[in-house]
Structures are given as structure tokens and as C-alpha cells.
Amino acid sequence: MVRDITLGQYIPGKSMIHRMDPRVKIALTFVFIIFLFVASNFQGIALMIALMLAVLALSGVPFGQYFRSLKAIIVIVLFTAVLNLFYGSGTVVWRCPFFPVMQITDGGIGNAVFISIRIISLILFSSVLTFTTSPTQLTDALERIMKPLKVLHVKVHEISMMMTIALRFVPTLLEETDKIMSAQKARGADLESGGLMQRIRALVPILIPLFVSSFRRAYDLAMAMECRCYHGGEGRTRMKQLHMTRLDTAAIVCTAVFCAGVLFCVFRFPAALR
């Protein structure tokens, strides 16, 4: 069971979005998210939705995958939508017969729809990033994007090295957990029955050996890294260089055009939220 885990949510592929420079993907995702909140009316958000649908189609990832990532947040969307129904002004559509304070206005309905669209788009945009970029590419790109922070004494290289190692050891430690669980079960440990507290207590004999072995691994790994001349980020080169291609330029230009369109809508039409 452990052997099948996929790290992160990466879905391998060769689409245009997959082939983009991960740095550009991260930057554009941020721009998208910012503009989702800049677009303050339905005309603007319609442009963003059009852009999003285009990106989803280009990613070559089956739509089912996107639906699955939406399932996780459906409760949050419904919750915010219902709350927003009651916060708004305008013509009263329905008033609660018991608490007259609770009323739904046409403005409230508009708000609810608007906010829901924003949240759903936010999740979809970030899903495109995680679906089409491998964890290694992501950490790599983050290291390079964060490089300017070195001026502020942020340990950029160390952070990205920690992410790399963490990603590398997730499957190893899962496998180990599996082994320890089997070993404890063989010694008569009961992991499945009892109340919540009892089950949590049953985890202790699994967590302790796991911790001990993790420290041993960390010691070994540190030695192996030193043996391979690791001495921090100073003077280190990378085998894989990230290159921006014409594809990335095209993506940036497209995004810029759409964003300009959104800005135009913002100033041309009235805001939707009331």
C-alpha cells in the first residue's frame, strides 16, 4: 500500500503547462490569485473564468482530478456562501419568520455567488500548479525565486535542502512505519479497537521507534552528505538549469493581456459586492 503513494499531487504529462518553467508557473499562479481579488465585478471575474478554463484545458489533466480537489473544500464554499447570503443590502427577497434580523437580499445572493466563484477558482488555479509540477521542480523553483531574500539573511539554500530531503524521506519513513506496525502487531499490540484515547495511546509504541530510527538516519545522512563534499550553498552549482522558453514568454503575454482586461472591467463597470 505504501509503495503506491504519489508525492504531492503531481500527475506526469507532456502538456504545454507541464513544459513551462516552474518559476514562471509559480509567479503566474500568484498573479492569477491576486487578480481574482482585483476583479471586483462579474465582467472581470468572467474574464478570469475564461482564462482559467483555457488553462485547465491546456494542462491535459483529466477534469475528474480537478473535481476531486474541489470536493475537499465544498464545505468551506457552502459555509461562506450561506453566511454571505445574509450579509448584503438591497431588496429583501426572503425574511426569516422567527428572526426578522435574518434576511436574504438580492445583494446577498450576488455576494454568495461571487465569493464562491473566487474560492473555487483559487483552488483550481493552485491545483493546476501542483498537478503539473513535480515536487522536485517546485522546491528547485522556490529556491531560485527566493534567492533575493538572501539579502535579508533568509537561509534560502538550507530551506530548500530541507524540503528536498523531507520529500526524499517521506516514502522511506512510511515504509518504516508499516514495518514497525507489523512488528508491534506481531508482539500483540492492538491498534484497531478501543476508544479514541486508547487508540492514540496505542500509537506511542510505534512513534518512539520511528523517532529513534529517524535520528539514526539523520546521523547517517549527514555523514553521507559530508562524504560527498557538502559544505552548504556556498559555491554550489546545479546540474539542471531552468530555462525560460518561448512558451513561457507566450504564457506571460497572455496573462498580461487578460489582467489588463480585468483592470479595464474594474474601472469601467461598478463593483459587484454590496
Binding site: L221, C227, R228, R238, K240
Partner: protein, 290 residues
């Protein structure tokens, strides 16, 4: 001139809080020539792993000197230079792979040395081909078998283009097939690339193929020489709770029972050659052919 030189190396581990220490190497002197294949034998606690960590300045002697290609390991500024020349492969293959993709892991060493990207690419491909793992370059390490992981670890060292590779019980955690894979790889590197190999092991059979066998016991060198010279001293090794290869032991026991057999055989082939005439000459009734 020896490539690796240990001169009266002593080493103590700090054990207690109040500065107590236990000496585990009691003055070891050893020279290893360039291109040599040396097997370092000894049971647990004999100091063989401790000695191995002196070869690339992971540990520094409490007294005495270690020189690598003429460089003194005590000199802090030479540390990277020394580790580039002498690579160390550890026992547990899981704990020495750093990246989640095989080729990126192999690139780790050269990246640390600040080598130009196209050159790293070339070295990584060469190293993976040398250990016959090129087809797996885009795999995740956790999906490989133990023997394959250990070969990737060796590739990670080769990519730094070292003169010498020290392997600290590289086969201890592997199944028989993984052991063969790793040993074949090491022998090939020694033969074809002229890389000096120091193989630390407690499997006597693995030492038979070496140019020289060094036996350690209790922080000292017990005996050394060609495999034949060392394994003919069966009684000495047994006195120190050390084994000899199975074929050697069989012939030695028969000899001590008075059979006319050669001094020392090292592997199954030699053993068969030695026993065949003896079995043929014995009378038909006492020997039943399977």
C-alpha cells in the same frame, strides 16, 4: 609512494561526560598503493570502520598521521580536496541517497564541488553507465532494490571522479543477489577505471578477490598479505574468532585429519580441483557418487 598512508594512527572516542575516552585504534600503520584492491577484515568492534573514516578525514587521529595523496588529513583547509579524492560508501543504502530522483542524487557530489552544469550532466551519465543504472536515472530511489540503491550510491561517489573508494560493509544489508551486483561493480571499477578500492567487510568470501587482505583485531592489524597468505593461517584467524572462506575451512579440516591436500584453497573451484583426485583414488565402496 603509497596513495593512502596511515602512520601510527591512534584514535579514542569520548565516552563519558567527564572527558573519559576509550581508545579503539592502538597505533595502526598501513600503506595502500594506487590502483590496489584491499579488503579490510575484522569482526564487529575491531576498529575497521573507525579506520575507514580516517581515510577521508571524517575522523581525525588522536595521534599519528593520515596522508591521502600526500595531503595531511589534519589540515582543515584540505578537507574538501581529500573527500573529492577518497569517496566513502556507507552500509545502509537508504540513508545515503539525498534526492528523490536517481540522477539528481548522483549529481549531488559534483554540484557541491561547483562543477559547470554541462560537465555534471556528462559525469552523471558516465557514472550511471559505469554501475549499469543508466536506465533507472529518472526513477525514485525508494522504488529500487537494495543492490540497485547501493550501486546508485557508488555512482554518486564516482561522479566526483575520485582516485579511491572506501566501502564500509556495503553488502551487509543486501540479499545474495544484491551482494553479487555490488561486488561485481566494485571489481569492474577497480579493473577498468583503475580506482583504488578499500572494501571493509566481515564476509570472508568477499575478500578472496582482493589484491591484499588486511585483518584487524582489537584496534590493531593482526596480519596482512595476499588472500592466500592470510587464509593459510587458519589457526591464527580462528584464535581471534575470525572465519575463513568455507572452501578454505573444509580443506583445512580434512588436512588436519591427515588427508593429502594443498596448503590453502580460496574458492569452490580450487576446492573441487583439490578434492577430485582424492575422491577418485579412494575405493569404490566408500565413495558414493550422488
Amino acid at each position: 609512494m603509497d596513495y593512502l598512508t596511515c602512520d601510527q594512527v591512534k584514535f579514542s572516542y569520548e565516552t563519558g561526560e567527564n572527558g573519559e575516552s576509550r581508545e579503539v585504534l592502538h597505533g595502526v600503520s598501513l600503506g595502500i598503493r594506487k590502483g590496489e584492491f584491499v579488503a579490510l577484515l575484522g569482526h564487529n568492534g575491531s576498529g575497521k570502520s573507525t579506520l575507514a573514516k580516517h581515510f577521508n578525514a571524517m575522523l581525525l587521529p588522536s595521534s599519528g598521521k593520515v596522508y591521502v595523496d600526500g595531503l595531511d588529513t589534519m589540515d582543515e583547509s584540505l578537507k574538501i580536496e581529500i573527500r573529492r579524492r577518497v569517496g566513502l560508501v556507507l552500509q545502509n543504502p537508504d540513508n545515503q541517497l539525498i534526492a528523490s530522483v536517481v540522477e539528481e542524487d548522483v549529481a549531488f557530489g559534483p554540484e557541491n564541488l561547483g562543477i559547470a552544469p554541462p560537465e555534471i550532466r556528462r559525469r552523471v551519465d558516465d557514472a550511471l553507465k559505469a554501475v549499469e543504472m543508466y536506465d533507472y536515472r529518472l526513477n525514485a530511489p525508494y522504488k529500487l532494490s537494495g543492490g540497485q540503491k547501493q550501486r546508485v550510491a557508488i555512482a554518486g561517489i564516482i561522479a566526483m571522479q575520485p582516485d579511491c573508494i572506501v566501502l564500509d560493509e556495503p553488502t551487509a544489508m543486501l540479499d545474495p543477489r544484491g551482494r553479487t551486483e555490488v561486488l561485481d561493480t566494485i571489481h569492474k571499477l577497480n579493473r577498468e577505471k583503475g580506482i583504488t578500492i578499500v572494501l571493509i567487510t566481515h564476509y570472508m568470501d568477499e575478500a578472496v578477490g582482493a589484491d591484499r587482505v588486511v585483518v584487524m583485531d582489537d584496534g590493531k592489524i593482526l596480519t596482512q598479505g595476499t588472500p592466500r597468505e592470510v587464509f593459510s593461517q587458519v589457526q591464527l584467524l580462528k584464535d581471534h574468532q575470525l572465519d575463513v572462506p568455507q572452501a578454505t575451512e573444509l580443506v583445512w579440516r580434512l588436512r588436519s585429519e591427515g588427508y593429502d591436500l594443498p596448503d590453502c584453497v580460496l574458492d569452490i573451484g580450487e576446492c573441487v580441483d583439490a578434492l577430485e583426485p582424492l575422491l577418485k583414488s579412494s575405493s569404490g565402496d566408500s565413495y558414493v557418487c550422488p
